[in-house]
Symmetry: C2
Subunit: 361 residues, 2 copies
């Protein structure tokens, strides 16, 4: 079923296995006929290796122990890189890199031929078109991103920006979701620090709701809701976790998860693509501080982070404000959360912020 | 912080600890100012014991091993029962029961004084008013509901109905969410078979979206979307898991979770309260069959089930159709699912249904 790593050039799509396009294994978007909620049916994802036990850079696949596919020397185990920070003179897809971005070998979506046509029926579906990339954040086999140097963390944040700009060139793609899973409880399947970028023709439902809510607020108030939240939180102070000249970290008022944090730029900006290298360096410093605080309070919990930004190629929007959301996994979501779409958070955001502030000081 | 078990009478609210109402520990609904999504901030939930290791009916709380609070002989460890099926002559809140419904000792919401007033600000909040009940399904310390007899399973389904009817008497409550967590991965904190009922003044967001989507479909088509799905799935057959004269189990077309199942009545009905004892007996038989199939295919996975029904005291609605959703926990939801609100399902519903059919036959 799996093809060899593709031999495409940087920024061209990874090769599609001949037997996959149009096969029952090709990924597909499907729309729930009641709620309109889209899901991705991605049978290829079930083939990916799971390698988290222990700290060794090896994993078990089909009963056989193999080296970590994200470590240097294993570049043949990933599709060809689309972005890399490399030592002068080093060869693409060889060692000598300090950060690489590669197509996901077990993608949820793929640049399928046949485009993005939808059926439009009661049972609506569309080809699972898209790009699913992996940002390999460091050559070192480490899992905790706070162990990256400040410069290295900045480079990860700039790689996100550069890939958003590169993915904007594909007009079929409307949104690129940048996220990171830290720890098995947060969905990570490999113990080597990496982020993921999932670019799709659909704006994901949660982002669509957020954009819609922010637009409605702006229509009524002629102010960005995130700017108003920042003003209100900075005046109140109880939910502020940490600050830097250009950024603020808060425990959001209606946090779904215990110790959830949002990190926002003070200045209004809807597109993460506009972040400068200087701002990224400052953001990296603040992110490292608040994540170390989280590690201290909860003894290195599993968590996700997620970049919320405007759609690809969008103009600067007066109503939207890019930010990171950090969501620890301290409790398993239970039936009520999944079924009712309503989260029960056992730690008041004010309590969480006070603990995080104490840990950061 | 915790009070003794309350000594209220059946169907009256459990006693509120004096220090909790209005205290920083009282539960609260909070509205996300961007999306409008409601969450429950419930600090008391963090006090509940977690007791799942091993099969023994004992749990560890504060370092001390105590008997399972849901077992016979431990009735003093739960608030007073609001419903029970009992041997003739047995005393309320003593042994001799085969099913009990009690208020949750560590509730997410409570019948707080002060009602359901909302602030209506940028940071909107309301008291965490509601009822959170536990359906103790059997006196036996077992976790797998398929080990209940058919009659016993029917009685659980009828207890749901009877509590929905009883909770309808509180006009502040608009929706009662009935759900069950099986296994730690699904959020269960006790290894003794139980369901939960969470009744709130708010219709939970996911149910509101489902009701809204179904209403829109009806406005356009003058047909219930669930009736149309049933017709379409029965004609197609590929996603049908099992059938009985009055009920059908399917793998939904846009399943969010691998091996997700919906169990629907063939005849249109929006309110679970209308289910008869005879229909509940048939439903119990079908639910046991499909859950045994799931246990066989996935080696007793963790899962949730969730009753989707019309709001409390609603009239019979032409656009809505009650059903159960069964959602296995085969993969941890990762950053993309949480952050984007879009689920990636690695098992096509057609594949899942075929495997489940084979296991059930």
């Amino acid at each position: 079923m799996r093809s060899d790593p593709s031999h495409s050039r940087p920024d061209s799509p990874p090769a599609i296995p001949d037997d996959a396009a149009g096969s029952p294994h090709a990924p597909e978007f499907r729309r729930d006929p009641v709620t309109g909620r889209w899901v991705v049916i991605a049978p290829e994802r079930s083939l990916r290796p799971i390698a988290l036990e222990g700290a060794e850079p090896r994993h078990r696949a089909n009963g056989e122990r193999r080296p970590c596919p994200l470590c240097p020397g294993q570049e043949h185990d990933t599709p060809n890189e689309v972005l890399a920070l490399r030592a002068p003179g080093s060869q693409p897809d060889g060692p000598g890199w300090r950060l690489r971005v590669v197509p996901n070998k077990f993608p949820a979506v793929r640049p399928l031929p046949g485009g993005t046509h939808k059926d439009g029926d009661l049972l609506d579906r569309a080809p699972g078109y898209g790009r699913h990339e992996v940002v390999i954040e460091t050559p070192e086999h480490l899992a905790n991103p706070t162990r990256l140097s400040d410069d290295h963390f900045r480079d990860v944040l700039l790689a996100y920006r550069d890939r958003l700009l590169a993915l904007s060139a594909d007009v079929h793609l409307r949104y690129a979701t940048v996220f990171k899973n830290v720890g098995a409880e947060a969905g990570a399947s490999l113990g080597h620090a990496h982020s993921q970028i999932l670019a799709t023709p659909l704006v994901p439902d949660a982002i669509r709701e957020e954009l819609g809510g922010a637009d409605t607020y702006y229509t009524t108030n002629r102010r960005c809701v995130f700017c108003d939240i920042l003003r209100s939180e900075l005046a109140d102070g109880r939910r502020v976790v940490a600050e830097s000249p250009q950024f603020v970290a808060i425990s959001p008022f209606a946090a779904r998860f215990a110790y959830e944090m949002w990190v926002l730029p003070r200045a209004h900006a809807s597109r993460y693509e506009s972040v400068t290298a200087e701002a990224a360096a400052e953001l990296a410093g603040l992110m490292k501080r608040v994540l170390r605080g989280l590690d201290a309070v909860l003894a290195e919990p599993a968590y996700n982070w997620f970049l919320h930004t405007g759609p690809l190629r969008s103009a600067e929007l007066p109503y939207y404000h890019w930010h990171f959301e950090v969501t620890p996994r301290t409790a398993r979501a239970a039936g009520f959360e999944w079924g009712a779409g309503c989260f029960i958070n056992a730690v008041a955001p004010e309590t969480a912020a006070a603990q995080l502030r104490d840990a950061i000081m």
